[in-house]
């Protein structure tokens, strides 16, 4: 079976921080809260933010690859569209969203979380997120899937 070529931009959304960000930021950072303000982008009929979320109190927390505590049912950022509004604003994959425009997101269902982010009359969302160090996330996933 011919091995498939891999793209240099394999995980584009996650790579850009790793490659472009200065080395100092790759050092272990403690968990801290960050406020991120995202301006929604008009795309056709929709206002998009440019990221994906996972989690929720109705989801299985054991499947969350980003959470440290596998019973954490919070909302996590699972993908960032490169160059999208969230990326520009500094949101990162693996961030846990604590609040959206003042609304709590630590104890919501997945659907409610999505709805809170996609309100039609809102052009700006202000998120309160907590972020583990990038290294932690990488290390974790490395431990889970050892080199084959």
């Amino acid at each position: 079976m011919t091995p498939l070529p891999s793209s240099p931009h394999l995980c584009f959304s996650f790579h850009s921080p790793v490659f472009l960000v200065p080395a100092c930021l790759l050092l272990k950072m403690p968990v801290h809260c960050q406020r991120i303000e995202i301006q929604k982008l008009q795309q056709g009929d929709n206002l998009i933010l440019g990221f994906s979320i996972g989690g929720g109190i109705d989801q299985d927390p054991g499947q969350n690859p980003f959470s440290e505590d596998k019973t954490d049912k919070g909302i996590y950022v699972t993908r960032i569209t490169p160059g999208g509004p969230a990326d520009v604003a500094g949101l990162m994959m693996g961030d846990k969203i604590m609040q959206v425009n003042g609304w709590d997101m630590t104890m919501v269902t997945h659907d409610r979380a999505r709805k809170r982010l996609t309100k039609k009359n809102e052009g700006v969302v202000r998120l309160l997120v907590t972020r583990k160090s990038l290294e932690e996330v990488v290390k974790q996933s490395m431990n889970k899937y050892p080199r084959q």
Binding site: S7, L10, C11, F14, G54, R79, P82, G83, T118, Y145
Partner: protein, 691 residues
């Protein structure tokens, strides 16, 4: 001493001394009130009376409508409880009297009627569908008629109420999220569910308007308003007694101004309705359209009624035994500490293993098909053995139990008989242990998307595993959303793809996967704007998709695609002009095998595959004007979502590393691990949404 199976219930003649005494409230001082059980009930009655007084005071004092409704609900619950306790008290007293009478007259022979064990009964996820007239529901015409509703559930002496829910035209179902557990229910239980409602309009709520104004208004209301007010204030012809027709005991019923609840519907559930899944039951509706508290009920109620008899959850008997398996070495009987629980006899090596949660040495099934008998007396030890026979597969396996003494044998046989009796009484509840979720302070919302109609629920009900089916549907919907939005990403994608395709010796497939299993009324994404097309044209030309030809092949027709519309637009990647749209048929199975061959990982990663696809897979673009693009992510998401529909579930996590490699440079460790991370973001298991 009270006998459990005392069912004698002499009716107290009206006007009799006993009744008069009770009515006068002098029963507290009566000589009948001796036993501790009576005083227990008396304490409960006192407690409820205090609660009721509190509720009355609150009702009189509160000014907001919501508070008034809640207080009225507490009032209703307390009143019902008081009536139930009092009737139970009366019954007990009558029984005592009868006991004394019968003892004198007849022999008090040993009551050896066997009684079944009690159990826990839990009712949860109550949902009552409504049937608004079309015009009412959709056009929202007219004034909004709102009602406050709650359910009162009664089993034996326990009465619980659910939370109050305000219902108006915008709701299609009344849902109560509470889980109510009744602790001591016998198999012949009758769980009475009553739905109370109260009109929640401000015309006649004395609570919300200032007192002076309210009194002025009430004294000078017009005919129709006055009628409504009167109907709301007094229990009219529409409200029967709420405790199932038991003789009402005279109680000082407080007449408080404020909202009053009326019985809207009721039903009675029993053992035959118990099942470890959601079921629909019929409701008897009382009242008619003229009543102010009327709601157009569909006539059914859905709920999950589960029961855990104690014989399934508690140890029935335990002790030391010697167990020998027939057919084995006759000398080898194992000394065990045996515990009879549920449908098995667990045999542990030692007694301490039970608490230590160590696995038992072996387990003997004790269920409906088991046969247990006492064997002939062993000539040596003069002790009867107990033989347990089961059918395992086609074979009959018999175990012989030897106890330490004759009394023990008798004890064990008795326990087995009781256990069998319990199982025969509790019937389907003893097949498997039903789960009862204890009500937690914050109950998570159900995974079921609220379809809002009985019909939707019925459809889903037919599948075996409710939650997984629903989450699959959800996952598929999310995939659709993801796909739709992914199409609108920036041009950085394009440059990447160009690079790849240059090095790629084999044709790359640019698949557009667009599964759309069912209507996405949850997601409001509309297709990407057409201005993306020109960028993607690059994609198409470079991609050199020989898979273009493949696309015509569709391997296996998938029956589950019947619901999918013929796509109106399609991959422009297959042709040079971006706006060229060609409808295609979807072939999900074929796609899946393609993807598996490529060993795609989780969503988001992007590279072209060098393997010619074994079968063509062109998923159609379900939305017009969508610019197609090649992404691994879309393919992956398709594989993930289609895993439900096709049996060849591509385990996207499995074949990772072989898929990546030459001609590109070996990815670094971090990259691979990140790729693995991607793999874990499998929407099949963990829902993700794009925002």
């Amino acid at each position: 001493m009270f006998c459990r199976n005392q069912t004698a219930r002499a009716t107290v003649a009206r006007g009799s001394a006993l009744e008069m005494e009770i009515r006068r409230g002098k029963f507290r001082k009566s000589v009948f009130l001796d036993t501790s059980q009576d005083s227990d009930i008396q304490k409960k009655i006192d407690h409820e009376i205090r609660m009721r007084d509190g509720a009355c005071k609150l009702l009189a004092a509160c000014s907001q409508r919501e508070q008034a409704l809640e207080a009225a609900k507490s009032l209703q619950t307390c009143s019902t409880r008081i009536m139930a306790y009092m009737s139970e008290l009366q019954r007990m007293k009558e029984a005592q009297v009868m006991q004394k009478v019968t003892r004198r007259s007849s022999d008090a022979g040993p009551m050896d009627d066997r009684l079944p064990c009690k159990g826990k009964v839990a009712i949860s996820d109550l949902r009552i569908p409504l049937m608004w007239k079309d015009t009412e529901y959709f056009k929202n015409k007219g004034e909004l008629h709102r009602c406050a509703v709650f359910c009162l559930l009664q089993l034996g002496g326990e009465i619980f109420d659910t939370d109050m829910v305000i219902v108006d035209r915008t709701l299609t179902d009344i849902c109560f999220d509470n889980t109510i557990v009744f602790k001591e229910a016998s198999p012949g239980f009758e769980l009475r569910v009553e739905l109370y409602s109260c009109c929640s309009e401000d015309d006649y709520s004395a609570g919300s308007t200032p007192r002076k104004l309210a009194s002025k208004l009430s004294s000078s209301l017009g005919r129709s308003a006055g009628k409504k007010l009167r109907a709301a204030m007094e229990p009219g012809p529409c409200s029967p007694i709420s405790n199932g027709g038991a003789s009402p005991l005279l109680l000082p019923v407080p007449s408080v101004a404020g909202p009053k609840y009326h019985l809207l519907a009721y039903t009675t559930l029993s053992l035959s309705n118990v099942q470890d899944s959601f079921r629909t039951h019929d409701l008897t509706i009382s009242g008619n359209e003229e009543c102010s508290y009327w709601l157009p009920l569909y006539g059914s109620m859905c709920c999950r009624l589960a029961a855990q008899p104690h014989c399934m959850t508690q140890q029935m008997i335990s002790g030391r035994l010697k167990v020998k398996q027939c057919g084995g070495d006759p000398q080898s009987s194992t000394k065990v500490y045996a515990v009879l629980k549920g449908t098995s006899l667990f045999c542990y090596h030692q007694q301490e293993d039970v608490e230590a949660n160590i696995e038992p040495a072996f387990t003997i099934a004790v269920n409906k098909e088991t046969r247990i008998r006492a064997s002939e007396k062993d000539p040596h030890s003069n002790v009867q053995n107990i033989c347990i026979s089961n059918q395992y597969g086609g074979e009959e396996v018999t175990h012989t139990l030897t106890t330490e003494s004759r009394e023990d044998t008798h004890r064990w046989m008795e326990a087995f008989w009781q256990h069998f009796y319990d199982m025969s009484q509790w019937k389907q509840c003893c097949d498997d242990l039903m789960k009862i979720e204890l009500p937690s302070p914050r109950k998570p919302a159900p995974a079921t998307p609220k379809q809002g109609s009985l019909y939707h629920e019925m459809v889903i009900e037919s599948s075996d595993d409710l939650s997984s089916t629903v989450s699959d549907i959800l996952a598929r919907r999310m995939q659709e959303l993801e796909l739709r939005s992914q199409l609108g990403t920036s041009s950085t994608w394009m440059s990447v793809f160009e690079e790849n395709s240059a090095c790629c010796p084999h044709p790359c497939t640019s698949h557009l996967s667009g599964p759309r299993p069912c209507t996405l009324h949850q997601l409001s994404r509309s297709p990407v704007s057409p201005h993306r097309c020109p960028q993607l044209a690059l994609l198409s030309s470079d991609a050199s998709l020989t898979s273009d030809s493949d696309s015509h092949r569709s391997t296996s027709p998938c029956s589950h695609h019947h619901g999918w519309p013929e796509p109106s637009s399609n991959f422009s990647l297959l042709s040079s002009s971006p706006s060229h749209l060609r409808p295609r048929t979807l072939s999900l199975d074929a796609k899946l095998s393609t993807l598996r061959g490529r060993g795609y990982g989780g969503g988001g990663t992007f590279h072209c595959s060098c393997q010619p696809p074994p079968s063509s897979l062109l998923a159609p673009l379900p939305i017009s004007s969508r610019s197609p693009r090649s992404q691994r992510s879309t393919q992956t998401t398709l594989s993930c979502s289609s895993s439900t529909s096709s049996n060849s579930s591509s385990n996207s996590e499995g074949s990772h590393s072989p898929a990546e490699g030459a001609p590109f440079s070996r990815p670094s460790m971090a990259r691979r691990s990140l790729r693995n991370l991607r793999a874990r973001l499998d929407p099949r298991n963990w829902l993700q949404s794009q925002v």
